[in-house]
């Protein structure tokens, strides 16, 4: 084992990595007991905690796009490069994703001072077997197409490994009604949520198609937003 420092009361009890785990609260009980007894390790842990605190203060959200840019992205006003930057940022930053979800909710309120109760949410039902969260597709094998259904629409979701990063997935969707493209499809956009954060949004094409690229494996909620209603696909398993 690598010694922590020569002042440690018992270097065999602790590894260098353990001090960070102690500061983070992820260390096991033996490490906690050691640090409480060892002044040298406690001092080093204190220094790590101080450095961590300073970094947190200085760097918190310094890479996040300003609110104006998030709004511009939401309204489709950013050029390709900037839009891609914001889209990539939303995949990772939970704070901006949460802000986008808030903006999405406010958009559904419209301009009025009262919440529009007319915008109803319809939960689509998964009619194909749900993927097991723990299951990992075999190499070269893609998960089967998932089909969600409401009284009027079928939504087919398929996924393929992302070209640039095979550990990620591209999710493609198709909306149809009785085998035909819904007549109001040009007014629909799709919003992808992970937890409480809105991480991606895209316009649905005139053939009812939409896609999200380079998604990390996990569970997502997908909302298809019409002017008068929302169709929600809960717990879409990706990967």
């Amino acid at each position: 084992m690598e010694n922590v420092n020569h002042e440690c009361i018992n270097p065999t009890e602790i590894e260098e990595d353990d001090l960070m785990a102690y500061v983070d609260g992820t260390a096991d009980r033996a490490v906690v007991r050691h640090v409480r007894r060892c002044p040298a390790c406690a001092r080093q842990a204190g220094e790590l905690a101080a450095l961590q605190a300073v970094l947190r203060a200085q760097i918190y959200r310094c890479g996040c796009p300003p609110p104006e840019q998030l709004l511009a992205y939401r309204h489709g006003e950013l050029d390709g490069g900037k839009a891609l930057q914001v889209a990539q940022h939303l995949r990772q930053c939970p704070h901006c994703a949460h802000e986008m979800a808030l903006l999405a909710r406010q958009a559904r309120e419209g301009l009025g001072s009262r919440l529009r109760s007319a915008l109803r949410t319809i939960e689509a039902t998964l009619i194909t077997p749900q993927l097991q969260a723990q299951a990992v597709p075999l190499r070269g094998q893609t998960p089967p197409t998932q089909i969600f259904r409401t009284s009027k629409f079928d939504i087919l979701l398929s996924q393929h490994p992302a070209r640039a990063r095979p550990e990620q997935w591209d999710l493609s969707g198709l909306i149809h009604s009785g085998g035909r493209v819904p007549s109001t499809i040009d007014r629909v956009h799709a919003e992808l949520y992970r937890g409480k954060g809105l991480i991606a949004l895209t316009q649905v094409g005139k053939r009812g198609q939409f896609s999200f690229a380079a998604l990390d494996p996990g569970r997502y909620d997908l909302e298809l937003v019409w002017p008068e209603q929302i169709i929600r696909l809960a717990e879409v398993q990706v990967g």
Binding site: T26, A49, A50, R56, I59, P67, E68, Q92, G112
Partner: protein, 241 residues
């Protein structure tokens, strides 16, 4: 959705600001009750305020819409009146006389006013979050013995450090994508190790794994005197500065 009634625009330019304001108030009252309404008086008020820079019309706009703006601001932290003023200030600065033609309807103007409110609200939230983090950090450093008083953090350190420059320097040092992710998730997005592991389960087995990567990063940073100098944090041979 409530639709505006086709208007008779020829009437509006002859009306005084007071008359327009009264008609606008009536129209907005109908709008709120989801009845058909005439938007032209309100639009003409905006036009006089923004395109003609009529101060009386601007005051009428403020009187008519400040409550709506207040609603859009929601629970944004800060003095509500100050925030409302920020929203109108932002709206006024953005909609110069030359830009007014880009907003052909009352809906378009109100949508933009709402965006100004959303921007102000998000900025206020972010500022409050940063303030809270600064206070947490000051308390931590004080309890660890690095500060004589908690307020010494803001006074001594914030004046010297530009967060963005330091961030860029650190990111330049981190070439491993996993380390970059842990660094950003831990400090830029303020996520705990277990949360990071849960968010990227295909990259990290558990919180302890994340701590291990973070520890590696911080040990390397502590050895870099140039990086740490602005922060006045001790290097690996100990001793507080």
């Amino acid at each position: 959705m409530t639709k505006p009634i086709p208007s008779r625009p020829a009437d509006d330019p002859d009306l005084s600001v007071a008359q327009l304001a009264k008609r606008c108030a009536a129209a907005m009252s109908r709008f709120r009750r989801r009845q058909e309404y005439l938007p032209d008086a309100c639009y003409e008020l905006f036009r006089r305020a923004l395109e003609l820079q009529d101060q009386e019309a601007w005051q009428a706009i403020y009187t008519q819409y400040h409550r709506l703006v207040r609603h859009w601001l929601g629970d944004a932290p800060g003095d509500p009146d100050a925030l409302v003023n920020q929203v109108f200030g932002r709206f006024w600065q953005a909609l110069t006389p030359g830009r007014f033609a880009d907003f052909p309807s009352l809906d378009a103007l109100l949508e933009y006013l709402k965006r100004c409110a959303q921007t102000v609200a998000l900025r206020a939230e972010r500022q409050a979050e940063r303030q809270q983090i600064q206070e947490d950090v000051a308390r931590t450093l004080y309890e660890l013995g690095y500060l004589s008083t908690p307020s010494a953090w803001s006074e001594q350190v914030l004046e010297r450090i530009t967060g963005r420059c330091f961030y860029t320097q650190v990111m330049d040092c981190l070439t491993d994508p996993i380390e970059r992710l842990v660094f950003r998730a831990s400090f830029e997005w303020d996520m705990k190790p277990r949360t990071i592991a849960a968010h990227w389960p295909h990259l990290f087995t558990n919180g302890r794994h994340v701590s291990r990567v973070k520890g590696r990063i911080l040990r390397r940073l502590r050895r870099d005197r140039e990086l740490l100098n602005p922060l006045k944090i001790s290097n690996s041979d100990g001793g507080k500065s």
